[in-house]
Amino acid sequence: MSESPKSNEVGVGGMAFERPIEEIEAKISELESLSQSTKLDISSEIDALNKRLREQIEATYARLGAWDRVNVARNSKRPVASEYIATILDDFFELHGDRAFGDDRAIVTGLATVEGRRFMLVAHRKGRTTKERLDCNFGCAHPEGYRKALRKMRLAEKMGLPIVSFVNTPGAYPGIGAEERGQAMAIAENILAMFALRVPILVIVIGEGGSGGALGIGVGDRVLMMEYAYYSVISPEGCAAILWKDGERSPDAAEALKLTANDLLRLGVVDGIIPEPLGGAHRAPDDAMRQVKAAILSALDELALVPPDELVAARYRKYRTMAAIDGRFPAPPSAGRADDR
């Protein structure tokens, strides 16, 4: 951990570790407005401060702990689905609804184009304004959201389009309606169905990878994670509450759960990490989104070369042996679905 967040008035949930950075930023903007109003040339002071700022950001982000990363992933300025859609897509035609119950705004789906590559976008939507956030339940999808995603993914298969999935959710919504309409069943159906889709699936965890709610649109041929995203079986808060009956210990839980991009890469759960701009995506959203765009292009181009049979067989193998230690378990069958063998 970079510092004890508890000692800070911001509390365990904040970005307290960014305070030294914010102080320098405040000083810079103060000097800038001073130089404007007084017409004094203080550019050398500002240059010096900018250099200090860069060094401070480098130093802070070089020693981010797991809990700090969780907070970066949740940062309210971090780019969300709607901004990716507006910024990196050349075209987007949204397709709503599950044709059974409703249109869950916590998951957005639609036909997308990036530099001539067409695909089906499936993405958790968190929203930006307070109203949007409430509309999207803060990215916590209901069963109809997962069923909408499945319907559009099947459509993608029929249309011969690859699927790009953006994962960014604290988790599937825990509520009465969600349970009544089969939250567990909807997620399970999606996971099962994604193994049979005969088009490439690219999954990118752009922020929070919250448990089963993430996996419900998260089975892919390539699974990438942004540098400061996290992916976990349970939230650090939930884990701390169970183990220590103490939400204050979320930082300890975050460390124990091994939920950072590097941890997941080391365990073999994700295939790659998309680097973020210095100081995180919230500091330079456009740069971050450009990195994601580049990753989409190269992954889609690569997956486009794989014949459907091989794609489905490799997806099966990937998850059937995921994170396994060589020789620990009996060898599984080598290929996936019989109709693809």
Partner: protein, 324 residues
């Protein structure tokens, strides 16, 4: 998750008998066992338990395995011996208490037909997960206490003469939580069923994914479904019986996507645990919420089958799967 506290469970301190037989249901699960499972759905942190619930907790824990116990479902005080004679079904309200794995196997298969497979696979503390005791230590203690290497038991057997592959997720081993070996054994069982052209019969009782294995346990949801997808494409037939309780990542993966899903009366079946939901929405949950009868009414399971009828029902379903 936290909710396992409210759930009648097999005793946590069955130290001497290798084969669990007469667990005590109304003593709440031990502190350690309670923390073994989490629902994959519980992303919202539950509030700290109130002082009251903690008092209740310690009071119940102190209650020895007496002659009487209180039914979790109807509150009736039951004579323990009568409960055992009734196959651990409440004589007052028909609530089906959790059965330990070995009892389940005995109650399901024809006598002498059980051939266990993959029994030697043992969990590993790959994340070096540490709370008060390390997960590695906890594994060792649970192994000693239960005489089992994992929460999942699988193998071949016969139900009224029909050969099947049976898999049982056992709540008395770390709350039936799904870690790497549980997911692996389910997949291996399904592959055994495919190789031998047998139906796959799956019983579950679980609090969800095993927190101590982090994201590896989450990925078992995908692994089990990968194996089932292959099985389905090869024409395999699977039946899932969800018993009390089946929640979290287990419900949100293999337990819900077998060809036929059954439940025992009164079984708690859901994604998020009731306490997490109540905390999130800040309101009382409706009576019977997430129980088998509720899930049936909402169209989420195919049928509720009483424990005494399960063998006949499973045999019948296996026969139907053979076609005309």
């Amino acid at each position: 998750m936290d909710e396992t506290k409210e759930i009648p469970t097999p005793s946590a301190d069955r130290r001497d008998d290798a084969v669990p037989s007469a667990p005590r249901e109304n003593e709440i699960v031990s502190k350690e066992e309670e923390s073994d499972a989490e629902d994959a759905g519980n992303e919202k942190a539950p509030e700290r338990p109130s002082r009251l619930s903690r008092l209740r907790f310690s009071k119940k824990k102190d209650m020895p395995g007496g002659l009487w116990l209180k039914c979790e479902s109807c509150g009736q005080v039951i004579y323990r011996k009568e409960l055992e004679e009734k196959g651990r079904v409440c004589p007052a309200c028909d609530f089906h208490f959790t059965l330990p794995g070995s009892d389940r196997i005995r109650a399901t298969l024809d006598e002498g037909t059980w051939r266990e497979e993959y029994a030697d696979l043992t969990p590993l503390d790959r994340l070096e997960f540490s709370e008060k005791v390390s997960y590695a230590e906890k594994i060792q203690n649970t192994l000693k206490r239960t005489g089992q290497n994992e929460a999942y038991l699988c193998g071949r057997g016969k139900i009224l003469g029909r050969p099947v592959v049976l898999g049982v997720l056992d709540f008395s081993f770390m709350g039936g939580s799904m870690g790497e070996v549980v997911g692996e054994k389910f997949a291996l069982a399904v592959e055994l069923a495919e190789r031998e052209s047998l139906p796959m019969i799956s019983f579950t009782s679980s609090g969800g994914a095993r927190m101590h294995e982090g994201v590896i346990s989450l990925m078992q949801m995908a692994k089990t479904c990968a194996a089932l997808d292959r099985f389905n494409a090869a024409g395999g037939f699977s039946v899932s019986v969800m018993t009390h309780p089946t929640t979290g990542g287990v419900t949100a993966s293999f337990a819900s996507v077998c060809d036929i899903t059954l439940a025992e009366p009164g079984a708690l079946i859901g994604f998020a645990g009731p306490r997490v939901i109540a905390t999130t929405i800040k309101q009382e949950l409706p009576p019977g919420f997430q129980r088998a009868e509720f899930m049936l009414e909402k169209g989420m399971i195919d049928a509720i089958v009483r424990r005494t009828d399960l063998r006949d029902t499973l045999a019948k379903l296996v026969d139907y799967a053979g076609g005309d």
